[in-house]
């Protein structure tokens, strides 16, 4: 009896240490999306000034896996991840769409893409941020992988690094393409 009582604190400590160990690498600021495995919300966004095609839900339901990248010219991590989105566009062989989130001036997005290069097949301009809210966006950049039927299959929050691209996004896209 006495021995088993003495062991309780040790067991509790081991259990707590185990929980902490499991969670030590977890970023608590990343909130999992509730939209995974749900159809992408309905939306229709105008094009950037000078472009002829905007973006709507119909673009995501053409039977091909696609990527939707939420970006903004005022977002510093977006600038950092931009080369990875360009790599994604050329390496994954899927359409990559852009959601230009809450620019102060519609020209800002245009200038940004002129400066850094445009990896997007089409860009929708979400000045009000409403489409962003419908997608559950809470911090740009965010990157969605959407299957051919328009179902959201994966969401990456924060900048895409080469590690994320190679170990997460590209395998996930390959898996969905089957």
């Amino acid at each position: 009896m006495r021995f088993s009582l003495a062991v309780i604190p040790l067991v509790l400590f081991a259990a707590l240490a185990g929980i902490f160990l499991i969670n030590i690498d977890k970023d608590s600021s990343v909130v999992p999306s509730v939209l995974i495995d749900k159809p992408a919300p309905d939306f229709s966004l105008p094009p950037l000034p000078g472009a002829d095609k905007g973006l709507s839900r119909a673009d995501l339901t053409k039977g091909k896996v696609s990527v939707l990248n939420v970006f903004a010219s005022w977002c510093i991590p977006c600038r950092a991840e931009h080369p990875m989105i360009q790599r994604l566009s050329s390496e994954a062989d899927v359409p990559v769409f852009g959601l230009n989130y809450k620019e102060k001036d519609p020209q800002d997005g245009v200038k940004w893409l002129e400066e850094l290069g445009n990896p997007y097949q089409a860009v929708g301009m979400d000045l009000s941020g409403r489409t962003g809210i419908d997608f559950g966006v809470y911090g740009v950049p965010e990157t969605f992988i959407i299957d051919g039927q328009g179902q959201i299959k994966y969401k990456h929050i924060g900048p895409v690094t080469s590690e994320v691209l190679e170990k997460v996004l590209l395998p996930k896209i390959a898996e969905l393409k089957g």
Partner: protein
């Protein structure tokens, strides 16, 4: 002035402003609805919704851009005729239960809600066990010295008395 009086004055100086001040809110006048009933409901809803950018503030408290957008959205839904629950469901459908500062009671959160009760019960059991053991130990002790012990004690006392009288 004496010291206790100064201390009292200091305490009053600290506490009174705290009592008088109301918590700061981030709602801008231009976001507010002219309909005070709807505005009141919007405030109540906003205080229940977490700002996802700052996470430990409600959207009513947060200055973040997204919090502002959500405050405006809450008011739009109310003006469109949604009930409070419909507005909350609208936001939860997009951001998940995580936006609720008050987590709902459902299978995923049973552990969360049950753990304080379970811990309290375990603590009570531990305290009860501790006192019962103490009682048992006290009960196990003999009240009187045995004959041998009494004789030995007398011997010791006698020798001590003799030594003391020397």
């Amino acid at each position: 002035m004496n010291r206790p009086f100064l201390i009292l004055l200091g305490v009053i100086g600290l506490v009174v402003p705290l009592l008088l001040s109301s918590p700061a809110h981030a709602v801008n006048p231009d976001e507010m609805l002219s309909n005070t009933v709807l505005e009141e409901r919007a405030r109540d809803i906003s205080q229940e919704l977490r700002c996802l950018v700052c996470q430990n503030q409600s959207i009513d408290d947060s200055d973040a851009e997204l919090a502002r957008d959500l405050r405006v959205l809450v008011r739009e839904r109310l003006v469109a005729g949604d009930t409070d629950q419909q507005v909350i469901d609208y936001i939860v459908a997009r951001y998940g239960d995580y936006v609720l500062l008050n987590p709902p009671l459902k299978p995923e959160t049973y552990v969360l809600w049950a753990s304080p009760v379970v811990l309290a019960i375990l603590a009570l059991i531990a305290v009860a066990a501790f006192y019962r053991r103490k009682q048992r130990e006290a009960g196990a002790k003999p009240d009187k010295l045995s004959k041998d012990e009494q004789t030995r004690l007398n011997e010791i006392l006698e020798t001590a008395q003799k030594d003391g009288s020397k």
